[in-house]
């Protein structure tokens, strides 16, 4: 590699900032638009080559429950989109154990593979982030 090429590569590396982004989902998938528009942000951020993770707590755990039926509500069932996250290299999905337990939801009822963590572990994960955006 020539000196010039080396210098260019070095500069490219310093400019390529990778931050840890966490999207915190706290609300039920329907009833408000937060879950849907929050998911749209997560998908866009994948295009920026950032270190993206999603956290689900409180009623946000309902977003990942299998078998969502929205016909009666006359809104689009967007839950299949969560399955597409893997294709965008978004593979870190954390679900709070206490939130699942409080709602009687088991891990095998979720539509994507997740990591179930307790509140304390979730707090530690949040501590590691550069950017946290909650919806």
């Amino acid at each position: 590699m020539t000196q010039v090429a080396e210098a260019v590569e070095r500069e490219t590396q310093t400019r390529a900032v990778v931050k840890k982004f966490m999207y915190v989902n706290r609300k039920a998938p329907y009833g408000t638009i937060y879950a849907l528009e929050g998911l749209e942000v997560a998908l866009i951020s994948a295009a920026f080559d950032q270190d993206v993770s999603l956290a689900f707590l409180d009623d946000g755990v309902y977003q990942l429950v299998k078998g969502q039926q929205t016909k009666g509500l006359e809104v689009k069932n967007f839950s299949p989109t969560y399955r597409a996250l893997e294709g965008y290299d978004i593979e870190k999905l954390y679900v709070e154990r206490e939130s699942l337990a409080a709602r009687g939801i088991r891990e095998d009822q979720l539509l994507v593979p997740v990591q179930v963590v307790d509140a304390k572990e979730m707090a530690a994960l949040m501590e590691q982030q550069d950017v946290i955006i909650g919806f």
């Binding site: 900032v17 866009i44 950017v131 909650g134 919806f135």
Partner: protein
């Protein structure tokens, strides 16, 4: 410090819209730099020039326009969230511009802190 703001709630409906403005003003007064203000969810309504509150109330939209003009702040409205709510180029107040969600992610990357004002 470089600060980015994300506003997710509508004007006159939620305290977040007011607090965001007050935070921006306080940050500027302390000598911080506002990298960008991004409007998302119902927050896009903070950019509508059609907003006409009663005379004796604060004008949330004009307040942003003034702050942007005086301090050269980049006010960005999400195009997709705006379209959903009927907010398009034609009814944007001065100082606002419409762009994509990438501008929010960029704010997260370029700012030292991204502060979220939402419910």
């Amino acid at each position: 410090m470089k600060v980015g703001l994300l506003i997710n709630e509508g004007p006159y409906n939620h305290q977040a819209a007011d607090t965001a403005y007050q935070f921006a003003r306080a940050a500027l007064a302390k000598g911080h730099h506002i990298q960008r203000v991004f409007f998302y969810n119902d927050g896009v309504n903070n950019a509508s020039k059609l907003t006409a509150p009663p005379q004796d109330d604060r004008h949330i939209v004009n307040r942003w326009s003034k702050l942007a003009e005086e301090n050269g702040i980049d006010l960005v409205v999400c195009v997709a969230a705006g379209l959903r709510r009927g907010l398009v180029e034609d009814n944007l107040a001065p100082g606002f511009r419409i762009s994509g969600l990438g501008q929010l992610v960029e704010a997260g990357i370029e700012s030292d802190r991204l502060v979220v004002f939402g419910d």
